[in-house]
């Protein structure tokens, strides 16, 4: 699904990613764990094409196509989806308008017909109720005045509506109470199937009680220093990260 080779990136001349190698095959869930500031969000943003970061080397390929130089929107249209750690508020643009615009762009790219208003509403309402959100959510402006939980649920709503091939979840578990965490996890599990992939970025193991990863990576100072299975999560839980620093 995605193959990242020796990826290096910086911001304001400060090197953050120092040679990331990561491959996520179709149908797998991977986790990246690491302390605050280790570069996890930077990796997520660079994968999504955020232009504030400078790519200094390496490559990102999706389904065999090099996307390193691709525009933000084309990556999304290739099936990439980033669940933002801090989704931005956009007053004046309703969730409904936004979701339709995004869906239309995707359908157009895929050569499919536009989803009609009735089907759109039915689909959206079903997902909203699963997430415990009111239908009126669609009328609200994007993330404007949303609580922490609503912001994360809104990201999951978009994930389920757009049904991408690869979802990168950046700290989607942070700041959620147990109920909201469960709801979000349920949404991710609903999304997951054999044909798509998920990359979970977190610095807790809370979410991993609900979503079972295939591979766990540990990121320290812009590099993946160790990969393994769930036992790695428990080791980190018990002993912290220090033992992993060479």
């Amino acid at each position: 699904m995605i193959k990242i080779k020796n990826l290096k990136a910086s911001i304001e001349d400060k090197a953050i990613l120092k040679g990331i190698n990561l491959e996520i095959p179709k149908g797998e869930i991977h986790v990246i764990m690491g302390r605050n500031g280790s570069g996890k969000s930077t990796l997520a943003n660079v994968i999504a094409g955020n232009e504030t970061y400078e790519v200094d080397g390496g490559s990102i390929a999706m389904n065999g196509n090099d996307i390193t130089e691709m525009s933000i929107e084309n990556r999304a249209l290739q099936g990439l989806f980033l669940c933002f750690q801090y989704p931005v508020a956009i007053p004046g643009v309703s969730m409904a308008y936004f979701l339709r615009a995004a869906l239309n762009a995707k359908n157009k790219h895929d050569g499919e017909e536009e989803m009609d208003a009735v089907k759109f509403l039915a689909t959206a309402k079903k997902i909203l109720s699963e997430l415990g959100l009111d239908d009126s959510f669609l009328k609200r402006s994007i993330n404007d005045g949303f609580s922490g939980g609503e912001k994360k649920k809104s990201e999951i709503l978009q994930l389920l509506m757009l049904n991408p091939q690869l979802a990168v979840l950046d700290e989607t578990d942070s700041g959620l109470d147990v109920d909201a965490l469960r709801t979000v996890a349920k949404g991710v599990n609903e999304f997951k199937n054999d044909n798509n992939s998920v990359l979970i970025i977190t610095h807790y193991q809370r979410l991993l009680e609900y979503i079972k990863p295939d591979v766990v990576h540990i990121m320290i100072d812009g590099k993946i220093v160790k990969s393994g299975d769930m036992t790695l999560v428990h080791e980190v839980e018990k002993n912290g990260y220090s033992w992993l620093v060479k």
């Binding site: 999504a48 955020n50 929107e73 931005v88 956009i90 007053p91 004046g92």
Partner: protein
């Protein structure tokens, strides 16, 4: 009586002269280019207006009302319509102390050929808005066209006035003076829509005098004006009144848009909101001079003033000067001003969902404008404004 007023205004203009950049309200807008326009002395009425609008429309041709539109005006029996010259009370024509200091206000007043006084009968309701169409003919190239109209609302009146310019290709200097007298328990919705594609200049002086329990909405949208400078002054003279101003300006090329708003809270328990947004492309400039003065004794005033400017080009310039002068202690007043480009994070967010960059930009521009347009009182005007906005963005 008009002669007498005009004589005074003429001497005031001679005394003050064209405004210089030393004046606060003219610091960022040169009046130099306005000097070249000659007074419109010709008397021949241009009858080439093919469309006098419907029975709710009053047409003004080069600043003077057309008889055709007046004759078929549906509300004429619910009103008193007089020539300003016929008024016996000079005070009706008096203006704000600030316009009194404006040379070009006097220039306008001293050069009008006629003006109208519209008084709405007590208790009359006017369900359909009154439309005012200002026509400027091609013949007016290089001319200065002045107009002065007074509107008086009486108790119980609820009136919507929609003012539009229909410019037939003249590049004139349109100097428009208006006075609105809102007696107690009245509602006035005044919409000003300027969509000009000619090289004309607009300078407006709109003065509103409010009594007790008045509700005043001023909605304005301005596109494609080469030079558009509008003065709005409001006197809240009695308690219980509420004023809302929503203004959206769009400018490109070297266009200059300029709003000068003075809100005088002279009485207790009044509310005022000012919301002015400018969107600028290319080398366009805009000015916001907004001032709220809360007089001593105007307790329980609730006032807010907001100016936001969106710069879509690095060469566009916004000047913003929101001011508050408060002489009462028990008041709630806020003001704020922001100027900037489209938010990068917002663009990234939309694009990350597959939305094209140009579409993402347009969505954000519309969202910025929508926060003004959604508060427009009149549905038709709001829809028209949204269409105009879409055209402007695409064009």
């Amino acid at each position: 009586m008009l002669k007498k007023i005009q004589k005074y205004s003429h001497s005031r203009f001679e005394e003050i002269g064209y405004p210089s950049k030393k004046l606060e309200n003219w610091k960022f807008s040169s009046s130099k280019h306005l000097k070249k326009y000659l007074s419109n002395n010709s008397d021949d009425k241009d009858t080439s207006i093919d469309n006098h609008g419907d029975e709710y429309t009053l047409c003004f041709m080069n600043g003077e009302i057309t008889l055709e539109s007046l004759n078929k005006f549906i509300y004429k029996d619910d009103m008193t319509i007089l020539d300003i010259d016929q008024l016996s009370d000079e005070n009706i024509c008096s203006t704000s102390s600030n316009f009194e200091k404006e040379a070009l206000f006097h220039l306008g007043l001293s050069t009008i050929k006629s003006g109208k006084y519209f008084e709405f009968k007590k208790g009359s309701k006017f369900d359909t808005p009154i439309q005012i169409l200002n026509f400027y003919s091609k013949k007016n190239e290089g001319l200065r066209i002045s107009s002065f109209n007074i509107f008086k609302l009486n108790q119980g009146n609820n009136i919507s006035i929609i003012e539009k310019d229909v410019n037939k290709g003249s590049s004139s200097f349109n100097l428009s003076l208006n006075k609105f007298i809102c007696s107690e328990n009245t509602i006035l919705n005044h919409s000003m829509m300027y969509d000009d594609s000619t090289e004309s200049n607009y300078l407006g002086y709109n003065y509103y005098e409010l009594g007790r329990n008045v509700l005043l909405n001023i909605d304005s949208m301005n596109i494609n004006s080469t030079f558009n400078k509008n003065f709005i002054e409001i006197d809240l003279n009695k308690e219980g009144s509420e004023v809302k101003i929503n203004i959206l300006n769009l400018a490109r090329n070297q266009q200059h848009l300029d709003n000068n708003i003075l809100m005088n809270h002279n009485a207790e328990h009044c509310i005022s909101f000012q919301n002015v947004r400018n969107i600028l492309k290319d080398r366009a400039t805009c000015v916001f001079n907004g001032k709220v003065i809360v007089a001593a004794g105007a307790q329980q005033t609730d006032s807010n003033q907001s100016n936001k400017n969106l710069l879509l080009s690095q060469n566009a310039t916004a000047h913003s000067n929101p001011q508050l002068e408060i002489y009462a202690d028990d008041v709630k007043c806020g003001h704020g001003s922001t100027t900037g480009a489209l938010d990068k994070d917002s663009i990234f967010y939309l694009r990350a969902r597959g939305i094209k960059e140009s579409d993402a930009n347009n969505i954000l521009v519309k969202a910025f404008a929508k926060e003004i347009l959604q508060d427009f009182v009149n549905d038709d005007i709001r829809n028209l404004s949204e269409n105009n906005l879409n055209h402007w963005i695409d064009g």
